[in-house]
Symmetry: C3
Subunit: 224 residues, 3 copies
C-alpha cells in the first residue's frame, strides 16, 4: 500500500482534532435548535463521524473506524459537554470555531482520499470519496436538524471547493508518485487556507445561469 | 460466541413484536402527515427496520436481516394495513401504542447490543450500537416525514436514556460473564419500565446550561 | 448465475440513460430551491446514484458501482451542467423529462431486482430491493432538499406501483425460469407505460380509510 504519511500517532491526533472541531459545529447547531443534552450529543457525534462512516461503508471497511476506535467516539462527547456548559463562550469564539472547522475540512479531505485509495478505489473515485468524507458530516448534521444543508445553499461561502482542491492534490501526488508527509501536509494547508480565504472574502458559487437576471428570484424570496 | 439468550423462536417472536410496534408508530405519523397508503407502508417499514438495517451495515452482516427474513419485512406491512383501515381506533389507543413502543425500545436495545458484540465489536461500541438500533428507526421516520427527530427535541420525554441503561446492563453482564436469558430479560424490563416512568412523569433532559435563565429562549419561540 | 440479460454494452448504456434522467430531476429541484452550482451537482449525483448505492451496500457489493464505474459518476455532472446553463429550456420540456424519468424508473426496477437476485437474495426480497433502487434516489433528493419525499405524498401521481409491477414481473420470470432479454424488456416497458398512464390520468393512491370523510382533513390544510 502507501507508506504511512505521518507516524500513526500524529495521524491519529490530527484525526481527533478534525473530529473535535466538526463535533463543536454540530453541538452549536443543536443548541441553536433548542435541543436537549442528548440531542446535542447526537448531533455532535453525527457531524463528526458521519462523513467517515459513509466512506468506510462504501469501501467495505467494516466495522467502521467510528465503531472500533473508542477515541473517535468519545471526542464528540467531550465537544458536546463543552458546548453544553460553555456555549455562550463557544459562540463568542465563533471565528475560532470556523478556523478549526476549516482545519478539519483540510485534514478530512486528505485522510479520506488516502484511505479510499488504500482500499483499492481508482484515483478519481478516491478524490470524490475524500470530498464526501470532508463534507458528509455537515450534511448529516443539517438533515438531522431539519435544515437545508448549508453545503447546497448559494448564500454560503465556498465549502466544497477547498476540499475538492485538497483531494485533487492528493490524487495527483499519488499519480506522480510524489505522496509524502510533506505533500500531504501541503494539501491539508492548501484546503485550509482556501477555506479561510473563502470565508474572509465571502467567495460564493454561482446559481443557475439564467436565474440571475430574471424575476424568478424576487418572486421566491421566502425560499430559505 | 454467546449462547443463545432465548430459544431462537422466542427471540424471533420478540423481534417481530418490536418491529410491529415501531411500525405502528411510523404508520400513525404517516397518517398524521396525510401520506397515501404507500407512504404509510414506507414509513412503517423504515421505522421498524431502519435501526437494525444500520446496525447490520455497520457490523458487516450483509445482506441485513431485514432483507433475508421475510417475516421482518411483512410485519410492518401488516401494521400499515391495520393503521390504514383502523387509524382512529389505533389513535384512540395511543397509550397502548406508547406502551408497546416502550417494549420495542427495551427489546431492540438488548438485541442490538448482543448482536453487535457477537460480530466482534468492543463492549462500549456494542452498547452504542444497541442504542442506535433502538432509536435509529424513529430518527429515520422523522427525517423522512421532514420533521425534527423527536429524539433530539427537548420537549419530549426521555427516550434515549432507558435504551442506554438497557444496553449498558447487557455489556456489564457480558463483562462479568453473567449474561443469561434472565439477566437479558431484566435489561429489557428495566429499559421498558424506565421509559414508562419517563412518559408518566414527563422526565425531560436539560437544554444547554446558560440557556435556561437567559432571554435567548423567549427571543426564539418560533424554533420548532 | 443468470445469463446476461442484454449484451453488457447495451445494459451499460441503459443504466447511463436512467442515471442521466434521474440526475436531471435532481438538478431541476436544486435550481428551484435556489442552490448554487455545487448544490446542483450534489443533488444530481445523489438522485441518480442514491438508489443503486443503497442496494449495493445492502447486498454487500462494495465498493458500489457508483464508485467504481467512472461513467456512473460523470453522467450526473453532465446533467447538472446542462441544467445549470439551460434550465429554462429544460423546464420547458418538463414533459420530456417526466417521460425519461419514467423510463429510468422502469430500467432501474428491473436492473435492481436482477442484481439483488444475482447476489443471493430471495425472490421477494429481490423485488423489494429493485423497488428501492428505483425510488430511493428520489427520496434522497427530497430529503437533502428538505422537502417531504414526493414518493410519500398523496397528492402525487402513482410512482411506486409501476416499479412494483416491473420488479414483480422480473421475479415471476425468474421463478418460472422465463427470464430473457425479451421478458426483461417487457417488464421495463410495462413499468414505463404504467407510470406514463399514472401521470396522464392522475392516478393516485388512497389515504387512510376513515380520513376521507372526516373533518380532520379540513382542519389540517396547512400540512404540506
Amino acid at each position: 500500500m502507501l507508506q504511512e504519511l505521518f507516524s500513526p500517532s500524529v495521524q491519529h491526533v490530527l484525526d481527533l482534532v478534525g473530529i473535535f472541531v466538526f463535533a463543536i459545529s454540530g453541538a452549536l447547531l443543536a443548541v441553536r435548535k433548542n435541543f436537549d443534552v442528548f440531542g446535542i450529543a447526537v448531533l455532535a457525534e453525527a457531524t463528526a463521524l458521519g462523513g467517515g462512516l459513509f466512506r468506510d461503508l462504501v469501501i467495505g471497511a467494516v466495522p467502521p473506524a467510528a465503531f472500533t476506535d473508542l477515541g473517535y467516539f468519545s471526542t464528540p462527547l467531550l465537544a458536546a459537554l463543552l458546548v453544553f456548559f460553555l456555549h455562550p463562550h463557544v459562540e463568542r469564539i465563533q471565528v475560532g470555531v470556523n478556523v478549526f472547522d476549516a482545519a478539519g475540512l483540510g485534514l478530512f479531505c486528505v485522510a479520506g482520499t488516502t484511505k479510499a485509495y488504500e482500499y483499492g478505489l481508482g484515483l478519481p473515485q478516491s478524490a470524490v470519496l475524500g470530498l464526501v468524507t470532508a463534507v458528509g458530516g455537515g450534511v448529516v448534521r443539517d438533515v438531522l436538524a431539519n435544515e437545508v444543508p448549508s453545503l447546497l445553499r448559494w448564500d454560503r461561502d465556498l465549502y466544497a471547493v477547498p476540499a475538492m482542491v485538497g483531494a485533487t492534490m492528493v490524487v495527483l501526488c499519488i499519480r506522480y508518485d510524489a505522496l509524502s508527509p510533506f505533500t500531504s501536509g501541503l494539501a491539508v494547508v492548501t484546503a485550509f487556507v482556501l477555506r479561510l480565504l473563502a470565508m474572509r472574502y465571502h467567495w460564493r458559487a454561482p446559481r443557475a445561469w439564467n436565474r440571475r437576471s430574471t424575476v424568478t428570484e424576487e418572486e421566491t424570496p421566502q425560499i430559505p
